[in-house]
């Protein structure tokens, strides 16, 4: 069978109540496990953008795309896995730090370009943006000091350079329909 790997889908959906539920219900029903899902508004009124990362082989990826298209409120779907894509995730990490370890931890964080956004007598909070690997890396490094809490947003994706995801509708009314 074809290769199983992490896939990134960029989707544009109508910004209506219940649409996120429809999308996640589809993944659940078909037995696909979502690695991460991030959703937010776009510059087009009434249109939201989702980035979904999940593991799938080529066939499954095509079927997921086709199944997503069957949802009436889904405007465009694009599997950007094979295209040059920038993927970023935001993480906040709270790590145990007292006067004896603080300087060292700050130094380590500097290497990852993480920003300290809260400093307390017993803990620090870092903000870090980057790829999944980079965030995993910082978490690994901080773990020995005592990671109290980690929160990650899940990846958001954008095609590189001047390329625009075909998935980007100009308006809600004209979603540039092309054959799936």
């Amino acid at each position: 069978m074809s290769d199983i790997r992490l896939r990134t889908f960029i989707m544009h959906v109508e910004d209506l109540p219940g649409v996120l539920n429809r999308v996640t219900s589809l993944f659940r029903r078909r037995g696909y496990n979502i690695e991460s899902l991030a959703v937010g508004r776009t510059d087009v009124p009434g249109v939201s953008r989702m980035t979904i990362v999940m593991e799938a082989d080529d066939d499954a990826a095509r079927r997921i795309e086709a199944n997503l298209y069957k949802l009436v409120n889904v405007l465009r779907v694009e599997d950007t896995t094979r295209r040059p894509t920038v993927l970023r995730e935001l993480a906040l990490m709270k790590v145990r730090a007292d006067h004896s370890t603080r300087a060292h931890i700050l130094q380590l964080a500097e290497v990852f370009r993480a920003r300290a956004i809260d400093v307390g007598p017993e803990a620090l909070i870092f903000e870090l943006t980057g790829t999944r690997d980079k965030i995993d890396g910082l978490a690994d490094v901080l773990a020995p000091y005592g990671l109290i809490e980690v929160v990650r947003t899940g990846a958001v994706a954008m095609l590189r350079s001047a390329e625009v995801a075909e998935a980007t509708p100009k308006t809600l009314e004209e979603p540039q329909i092309t054959a799936a």
């Binding site: 219940g18 219900s25 066939d59 086709a66 069957k70 009436v72 889904v74």
Partner: protein, 574 residues
Amino acid sequence: MSSPGPQRTGAQILWEALRREGVEVVFGYPGGAIMPAYDALLDSPIRHVLVRHEQGAAHMADGYARVSGKVGVAIATSGPGATNLVTGIATAMLDSVPLVCITGQVGSKSLGSDAFQETDITGVTLPITKHNYLVTKVDDIAKTIREAFYVASSGRPGPVLVDITKDAQQAATVPVWSDAPVRLPGYRPDHRAQSAELSRAAEMIDAAKRPVILAGHGIIKADATPLLRDFVAKTGMPVASTLLGLGGFPATHPLSLGMMGMHGEAWVNHAIQEADLLVALGMRFDDRVTGKLDTFAPNAKKIHCELDPAEINKNVRVDVALIGDVKDTLDALMPLVSRRERVDWLGRIRELKGDSAVRDIQQMPPAGRLFAAHVMHDLWRITQGNALVVTDVGQHQMWEAQYYKHDHPRKLVTSGGLGTMGFALPAALGARFAAPKEEIWVITGDGGFQMTACELSTIAQENVKLNIAIINNGYLGMVRQWQQFFYDGRYSATPLKSPDFVKLAEAHGLMGLRVTSRNEVEPAVARARATAGTVLIDFRVEQEDAVYPMVPAGAALHDMIRRPSPIVETAEDD
């Protein structure tokens, strides 16, 4: 757009919207949250059939839709009314039947408060509808109904649920009616096969030595039967049908192989296994059709003509996918394929018939016993194959598929994908409204019949004519058969005691007859046909008969359980 008219309530707008969609009959049950709609119903020309359980309403709408090709409509109240529709909606979803189900909902201010008879029915039906809507504003009712009919009937059809809050039904507005085509920005029901793919498919068809067409429900839904006949006449390819495809190609056509799959004839399945090309038309390679996937038609290239892109390569990897309406696809393929006569291959299939043979139960002397297969065969003979047959789910369903030869589309209504027991009786009542003049036979089992037997009183109240054949073997027969084959004959919860069905019919003011031997079949069927009202016949058949042949679930398609001797196997099935 019409000019602004007077104010109308949401309930009035609902019925007017349905009328504008061409709805003539709806099936439903009133209750608190849908009462405004039921009040306005009295002033609507639309006929309402009062069911005894909302599951019946959904199945009736389904039977109506399958026979008419139009959208069926069911209506229910909130909470239990809505949840009772669920089995019927799931049935329609799996068989791609266009339904619009309308449910009342508690007032919009009470939504989410666990109010009396509140159920999140849009949440409940999310995975079993093509799409659904919660309408909380009177101004959205007309537009939503229009969208719902469009979504239900376009592309790959399916059920759509519209949940309307009570206050939206009660509020008034000046309705805006539009005849413009519905535009949904994210919805693309139409696909057309690419010409390069069509050419590849045509080359494969021309080059094939042992091709088989697999004809599914899509042929019937697309009204593609005449085109398929022409296509077969030109290409010379034999046709195997899925259960739901029966009638899409005439069963008595010389190139018809009949049903394939779990209870298809052995030689049909063997032909598929030996094929070098499968041309799948409007079917989705269900597990009941393919058997074990790893060993399914191992030497065959596959062409898949299918409306729904999500079905491509789902179960079976195909070589060419022709995505689009099967009628358009056949139309486009027709000029590209060459005329062929496939003498050798058809000869080989005849050989397979001779080898693995039809175990023809008609050859078996009744010896005072009544076999269900004999009943099916006699029904087919007496009705000259022209009846509209509505079957339930189980052994009788398979015997009907094997022995009642359907030569015309939309003459067999059955729950294929979901396998819903209790489907037949209400679906037949719905079918009656789509085909007022046709002879209708409900063929059901003693188990399935009792699941929705309450609809007998709907039939009596509506004063319609149906013929009901209960194939009564005192068991949940198909499960009993599996227990016999695969569970060492341990009959767990399958022996079934039933009421006296003749008296049950009589209690509803309907005629009831009982048949216990083969020579009683013809007179009873004749009497039912000659009687103006609904007649129920209780056929007391062999109790522990099994449907043969059978591919055990998960086994290879050619790995069938054969009918045991001493039953005569003959080379011809007629």
